[in-house]
Assembly symmetry: C2
Homo-oligomer: 147 residues x 2
DNA sequence: TATAATATGCATTATTCATGTATCTTTGAT
DNA sequence: ATCAAAGATACATGAATAATGCATATTATA
């Protein structure tokens, strides 16, 4: 019972992008290499997460020389429940089929767990990327010295 | 992001025990074999879960011939949050060390997820095994015909 | 004393996550 | 035009953990 690193990497990437400043898009362009160096991660993995974030239209990616990516929305429009649900995958927390459980027709448990899961996400729904950037200055400093 | 089958097996075992009736302890004795046949599970795995439930003092186990196990508490005294926390293991849902994440000192995320996790368990805390036995009759029927 | 049950430790398999390699495509700079 | 730098994509490998299997010890009862 733990979030995938994949999901956390996605959030780190968003935090990195959100912490950056610069009015012009090209000033804000970040590359996969930047992320990897900052967080000491595998470029392949980050590659996939970045691609995923792009498909979700949370970031905009630019191929080719001088390419990179940047936030496609304002931080306060990026809700954490959405990000985590999408990156993590939104399957039920208990698998009752596969193989089929005989108790299923009379089981109260699956509903309770499912409701608990929704409460978890309801809570996350109260937060956006902007909330993760409260210590923006400190983040900037960490990211600039990390590489 | 899914509960382990191990955990669900534990809850199934408790449901099975709770659905049984019979005033005397020996009438209520269930064996690992019973569980395995009812749910079509591996006896080794069930073995371990039963042992675990015994250590948690949720069931009482009896070794030797005519042995088995039975609920050590009333169903309404067995809280779901406790069972799931114990069987599942109560680790954080995000691992920030191992390897160490540079953002940690300025990270708001880990706290948010940790709080969400607690809300999940807070919700489970409202339920006990008794709530899982609402359709007790139907469960009894299922369990008696399953084997 | 034989037998039926749980207890326990270790080995193996399966699944999923994480990572690596290679190649393609796009884009800007030279 | 050509090259190089970036993400996109597909596939392969490795690592971690969950799930299962096997063997044996221990205990209690008939
Ligand atoms: S016991 Fe309930 S929750 Fe668990 S697998 Fe069966 S139906 Fe699903
Ligand atoms: S980003 Fe925050 S939550 Fe994720 S690993 Fe780093 S410190 Fe932990």
């Amino acid at each position: 019972m733990q979030l995938k690193k994949y999901t956390d990497y996605g959030l780190r990437i968003l935090m990195y992008l959100g912490a950056k400043d610069g009015a012009e898009a090209h000033e804000r362009l970040t590359t996969i290499k930047d992320i990897c160096e900052t967080f000491s991660l595998s470029s392949n993995h980050v590659n996939k997460v970045v691609h995923h974030l792009g498909r979700l239209q949370l970031i905009e990616t630019r191929r080719g020389k001088n390419g990179g990516f940047f936030l496609a929305k304002a931080p306060n429009e990026i809700r954490l429940d959405y990000v985590i649900r999408q990156l993590e995958g939104d399957e039920p927390w208990i698998e009752c089929h596969n193989p089929y459980c005989v108790a299923l027709p009379a089981c109260e448990l699956k509903g309770i767990v499912a409701r608990g899961k929704e409460l978890f996400y309801d809570y996350l729904r109260e937060f956006t990327l902007a909330d993760l950037l409260k210590k923006r200055g400190q983040l900037q400093q960490i990211f600039s010295t990390a590489s």
